[in-house]
């Protein structure tokens, strides 16, 4: 709390930290997104303990059992079983691990590439900026989903390949945002002050520039995680991403496609899971942006 001298007895003059906390507590999207995401992360981590069955165990006697909310459902398979008799809930829980792993890993790779490109373009400007801008526009011109699909399909879809391809190809948003934020910062007085006092370039970037674009970095990171998750789901849905028998949610939708007419829940469950995960991360990212934004709009 800050006390101000003078005629105004503003007893509750909150500090910036308190304002952020207050905004966060009131931000519905942030709270909803955070809750859903925590739940999914919890499910992913505790899958080995909580999952009722082995996600890979096939049992042709118990094929296509409907979820428990149907009349014929059974509590033994809360979300039913797929066409090979595998427990759907267990597959769903293990699938969360794949989506989260791919999202975060691909984001980290693309984050490193994009941030290095963007920050150096924004900080050095001139020729470096021109080259980086050219690289970005070339990258944007590639129909990246199709190229990723082709590469993953041709090289062979393992988890590692999917992560690498997504990470190496989808760094454009990081680069663009980091470039713009660094450009803005470069002309700031404290950066110039650091330059005049003889700090090395790397030190200025690490100590003066990076901390100030951290908020933007977090927001872009959330967007990139969801983009990687969505693309992985799409590739797996086409049968050319993560390979069976791994329980990728996109792959589960793909495998359920043939049973769409009679067992639409087989599509609904993994599809909704992807949707919930992506929306929770997006809401969280939007929340961070709103909460840390300076007062005004």
């Amino acid at each position: 709390m800050m006390e101000t001298a003078g005629p105004f007895k503003n007893i509750t003059f909150p500090t910036p930290k308190q304002i952020v906390y207050r905004k966060a507590k009131r931000h519905k999207g942030f709270l909803i997104g955070g809750t859903i995401l925590l739940f999914i992360i919890f499910m992913a981590i505790s899958a080995p303990i909580l999952a009722p069955h082995d996600p890979y165990e096939q049992n042709l006697d118990t094929r296509l059992i409907v979820p428990v909310w149907h009349a014929e459902g059974t509590w033994n398979h809360i979300l039913g079983t797929d066409n090979l008799g595998r427990d759907y809930l267990s597959r769903l829980m293990y699938g969360a691990r794949i989506s989260l792993l791919i999202g975060v890993a691909a984001m980290l790779i693309s984050g490193v590439i994009g941030t290095i490109l963007g920050v150096s373009a924004g900080y050095f400007g001139g020729r470096v900026d021109m080259i980086v801008s050219a690289i970005i526009s070339i990258r944007l011109a590639l129909p990246i989903m199709l190229v990723a699909l082709a590469v993953v399909a041709l090289v062979g879809g393992s988890l590692m390949i999917v992560v690498l391809v997504l990470g190496l190809m989808i760094w454009n948003r990081f680069a663009l945002v980091m470039r713009a934020s660094t450009q803005q910062l470069r002309s700031m007085d404290y950066v110039n002050a650091a330059k005049t006092s003889g700090c090395s370039t790397l030190r200025i970037i690490l100590t003066e520039v990076m901390p100030n674009i951290l908020n933007n970095l977090i927001v872009v990171a959330t967007l990139e995680i969801t983009r990687a998750i969505l693309i992985e789901a799409s590739l797996s849905f086409l049968g050319m991403g993560v390979q069976p028998p791994l329980p990728s949610w996109g792959l589960m939708v793909n495998e359920a496609k043939g049973f769409m007419l009679f067992s639409p829940w087989m599509i609904m469950i993994p599809g909704t899971a992807i949707f919930a995960l992506v929306i929770s991360i997006n809401l969280l990212g939007d929340g961070v942006r709103d909460i840390t934004a300076p007062e005004g709009r």
């Binding site: 050219a134 082709a150 590469v151 090289v155």
Partner: protein, 305 residues
């Protein structure tokens, strides 16, 4: 102005050339075209024969120069799977993809711009929240899942619309909605933030100080300025959307170049994939070029320089 356009065209051409090179490299390094040509059960010796016969044993860069040289003369190669010129394969399918893209784009614009404008005029009201919800859902709903949901609901349960193929205009409704919905959030958000920013600008205050009617303030003064970046983004989105249309074409079994690309990837039919990737890149680059030029016409500050 002419110099500006000229510069942009040169830039676009350069980008296209580099993109064609990079995509050629990526695809050739990922898969071996000789295996596809020879067939899956060919022996290593047979593959080697094919490799020499088609010149695939030479450096990739030489192959690229040959390929792009032929492509510039209109010879896009032959698909080993279909044993047909790639040009004919694509020519027969590009129309469908363009129809789908145009419908989807029209849907995206009609959804995004009015909602974005209304949301900006009435911020923090139910209509703003509705617009926000629509856009948050659009960003999070995988478009193949949205497509399947529509198929289940409108195709299977209600049986209002056909679920696959591209024979009538009815076939295009669900795919266009699924594809366009995915493209609309960014347009809507840009419209909303653009309008909000413009509505808070000094010249809108001037317009209000002049006593202009609300209609004139919103549409003559505000929208005219806010729409400029939206138009640019729209064209870019159109190019981007075509690049991602293959999933929707696959879901709805629409016989466009996207579906062809997916099938060709499955068959390792590289010459076809190669050309489709190049085509989509060129479309995207042309769209950004068109966006730049239209931008210049809409904004007097750029037009003058």
């Amino acid at each position: 102005m002419l110099i500006y356009i000229g510069k942009r065209i040169v830039m676009a051409l350069m980008v296209s050339v580099v993109v064609s090179f990079i995509s050629f490299m990526i695809l050739n390094l990922s898969g071996d075209p000789a295996i596809a040509l020879a067939g899956a059960d060919a022996s290593p010796e047979e593959i080697q024969v094919i490799r020499v016969q088609y010149g695939l044993d030479r450096p990739v860069i030489v192959q690229y120069i040959e390929w792009i040289g032929r492509a510039l003369q209109g010879n896009l190669g032959v698909s080993p799977y279909f044993n047909m010129p790639v040009k004919d394969l694509i020519g027969a399918r590009i129309g469908v993809t363009l129809i789908l893209g145009t419908c989807a784009f029209a849907f995206a614009i009609l959804l995004a711009i009015p909602l974005g404008v209304v949301a900006a005029i009435r911020p923090n009201t139910w209509i703003d929240r509705t617009a926000l919800t629509i856009s948050v859902f659009g960003q999070a709903l995988p478009n193949f899942f949205f497509g399947l949901l529509m198929i289940i609901f409108f195709g299977v349960i209600l049986q209002w619309l056909p679920i696959s193929g591209d024979d009538t205009w009815k076939h295009f409704i669900m795919p266009a909605v699924a594809l366009g919905y995915y493209a609309s959030p960014s347009l809507m958000r840009l419209t909303r933030t653009g309008m909000l920013e413009v509505l808070g600008s000094d010249y809108i205050r001037t317009a209000r100080a002049k006593g202009l009617k609300t209609f004139s303030i919103l549409f003559k003064h505000a929208l005219r300025n806010a729409i400029i970046p939206v138009v640019s983004l729209g064209f870019v989105q159109f190019g981007y959307m075509l690049g991602g249309a293959f999933i929707i074409e696959y879901v709805f079994a629409i016989n466009g170049i996207g579906f062809l690309a997916v099938q060709s990837i499955q068959r390792a039919d590289l010459p076809v994939v190669q050309v489709i990737v190049l085509l989509l890149s060129v479309i995207y680059v042309s769209m950004t070029l068109v966006a730049d030029i239209i931008n210049a016409f809409l904004d007097p500050r750029i037009r003058a320089n």
